[in-house]
Symmetry: C2
Subunit: 501 residues, 2 copies
Amino acid sequence: MNETYQKLQKYLDKESALEVALALLGWDAETLAPKQAVDHTSKAVGILAGEAYQTIINDEVKDLLSKLSLPEEQKTLTDVEQKIVKQLKKQYDDMEQIPIEEFQAYQELTAKAPSVWARAKEQKDFASFAPLLEEVFAYNIRFGKYRSKEGQQPYDVLLKDYEECFDAASLDQFFEEVKATIVPLLKKVSAKKDFIQDDFLYQCYDVKKQDEFCRFLAEYIGFDFERGVLAESAHPFTNSLHNKDVRITNHYYEKNLASAIFSVIHEGGHALYELGVADELTMTPVGGGTSMGMHESQSRMYENMIGRSKEFWLPVYSKLQDTYPEQLNTVTLDTFIRAINKAQSGLIRTESDELCYCLHVIIRYEIEKDLFAGKITVNELPTVWNQKYQEYLGVTPADDAEGVLQDIHWSCGNVGYFPSYALGNAIAAQMYAQMKKELPVDELLKEGNLKAIREYLNEHVHKFGKMKNTNEILMDMTGQPLNAKYYTEYLVEKYTSLYEL
Amino acid sequence: MNETYQKLQKYLDKESALEVALALLGWDAETLAPKQAVDHTSKAVGILAGEAYQTIINDEVKDLLSKLSLPEEQKTLTDVEQKIVKQLKKQYDDMEQIPIEEFQAYQELTAKAPSVWARAKEQKDFASFAPLLEEVFAYNIRFGKYRSKEGQQPYDVLLKDYEECFDAASLDQFFEEVKATIVPLLKKVSAKKDFIQDDFLYQCYDVKKQDEFCRFLAEYIGFDFERGVLAESAHPFTNSLHNKDVRITNHYYEKNLASAIFSVIHEGGHALYELGVADELTMTPVGGGTSMGMHESQSRMYENMIGRSKEFWLPVYSKLQDTYPEQLNTVTLDTFIRAINKAQSGLIRTESDELCYCLHVIIRYEIEKDLFAGKITVNELPTVWNQKYQEYLGVTPADDAEGVLQDIHWSCGNVGYFPSYALGNAIAAQMYAQMKKELPVDELLKEGNLKAIREYLNEHVHKFGKMKNTNEILMDMTGQPLNAKYYTEYLVEKYTSLYEL
């Protein structure tokens, strides 16, 4: 091993150990930790997070990275080592553009903003959150400017934090194409709003049995309980300590059967990605999923393309009926499939169906872009928000809690994050089309052979961790960069058939 | 705040944050972590433990402690700060006596020895563990020598690591007194071995209901589920992140009702101690229980003196009957109380009843002492062990798994640890006698008023953390240092009455 890299390895190991601890602390806080633990434990988490940061951001690591970036040193490094050096170097270069006092002030701001947001949402009072939100955006605009390279727009800098292969120009084009398909399609679907009956999904469903069935589903798609945990939390999420310990959560509603079922398949999709990262990459800086967009592509492919298909349910539906005979014995598989695919305009992104989902994202993207361009101000957000919901989805929030205050992201400083949710859908559609060319996907699903699908995705996506970016994965797998037509075609075909349009 | 101390505070905070993470990782590993996580996670734990060690053991902290130990600096410190400095300084002075290479070699040895021990126990093969055990004792004898001060015996040095107020001389006296009471008492009890019927405790008891009842018991004695968690693990234990997050575990056997019940009360006693530590002390080096002995005194007082008393069960027993009507409706409270107090010689320390427990400890203590004195060798241990079990308890192990290999302690390097288990019993008896003078304990138990008892113990023991040592606590609370007569009198009275001797 390169001697300089060996010195770097010491820091990488320490950082990775701290990340394992932070991942567990984060998971525990949402699942098991007792109520009153939060103050003391948060203090510890703050210190450990600072420690993780300082383990990488310090003068010795900086020197090591400079040395390791020299061509003659690069030659002696493995591919993985080269990638790690490149990624850390970029993080350094970015970081150095931001004055340290501003960075610290911003950390403090985003540490307290989520609780202010939560209170504002509870009290349906945007005004009480607006000043902080204004600061968050002001910092992000400034940081974008500091970090931008010749002629680059500040918003593009932030977008690339979450999905390096896209900027506002490519996203504009992508979203225009998506919007041009979805808006008219949704109008037609909405015109037949009682065409699909789904009342039976909202009967009483014992939550203990939901949990059991969801554990079965997780295992069915390939979640390995020897390398993972499923627990309950207020909102479902996935969290990875390393590729031998990936944890998902679920939430059960007695009067909503579909919610937990599709949450576990969604989080299961995220988990399969993390569980599939190669052993040589896990617990290194290139050990997780390559981007938010790619991560969402895996979760949403499992949730929607696989999990809402008739083929998937063919071998499984009778088990669900056996779990709830009273509620489902008279419901045919076809009726069930139609119900779980029903589309309906709504106000809340996280509860949205597949057809409307991207519209929720587009609204947030357009707002962020306009805020960065100075075309709108934070104070105007509730008005702008409500107008756009009326325009794209035909609905208007009764208050800001179900409007502009619904998402936590901005309060945490996650600006530029939302588009990756939409990209995930489109990446999933393109990959799914490709996979269908190479594998008899429908047949495999009918046979309950999820292993072949999982192995295919592992081979083309999961195992690489961050060694390839989104476009590299798409190019190698499908022969082209992201092409929205797979997604739009998928939606048109699905909903035309479902609603007999 | 003293400026030098402020510098030290930074290290203390970091160390405490790491300890919180390590506590959670430790708890998680025994309760929830998936099977295959262990290798990766252990690597992280090793790094974080090393980091915690280096956070305190480094030249800057050493200098700060030297400065802060000067009389003029001491004057400017609070009591808590003085105690912390004193304790860390002692740790430093101790550490410096041990050559660093030997210390590291010992760390490696005790990192691998437990797995060798586990295999040896599984295969009932002492010989395969003996060479490592010999090394462990050799290191401990040498470290004891390095650290000993003028004329001090090496074994005394180690004993004081676990209970600073005792050495072999005082323990010899203590154990002689205890042995002089227990051995003849046990002989009399053993002569009436079928006097007490307890078969009904070994019927089938649904484990889910056991868990529910144990949760009730935990809450009943004052375990606060807003500041704690109860989960399952192979062996029950208590673990504290800080005084707002203390976690206990239990283990349920379908065919043994008493095991889980007394485990939860025992661990609950440990937990009340940790939950009771004052806010200003938690998450500092003086934030936990003051010693192993004092900790065991709290757990065993709750388990045995409180938890096995008729008064405790008066308001509670009907609830247990309601939980298991089929098994218990014909069992009177008196029959139940007699059964849960039955004494019977056995081979396994952790399964021992109250009367025999100290004999198990005495055997280990005598063996350690003789090893340190060179009177016996590690290879002779199986023979010595079996002789002593025959002599003190009248039983002989069938193999080394239920003999000399039964405990994990020595493989972890915990030499000098066992006596604290016995001290805990005696401390508990002395405290309980005092508490009965000041509080109407039996009346409180009959009324189900556990709060008064908990508050009394908090006021005299829990809140001080490590600010007082065992003798200081005993002196302030009972007016005298440890006096074994309270314990021996308690045993004589209890078993004479129970067995109508």
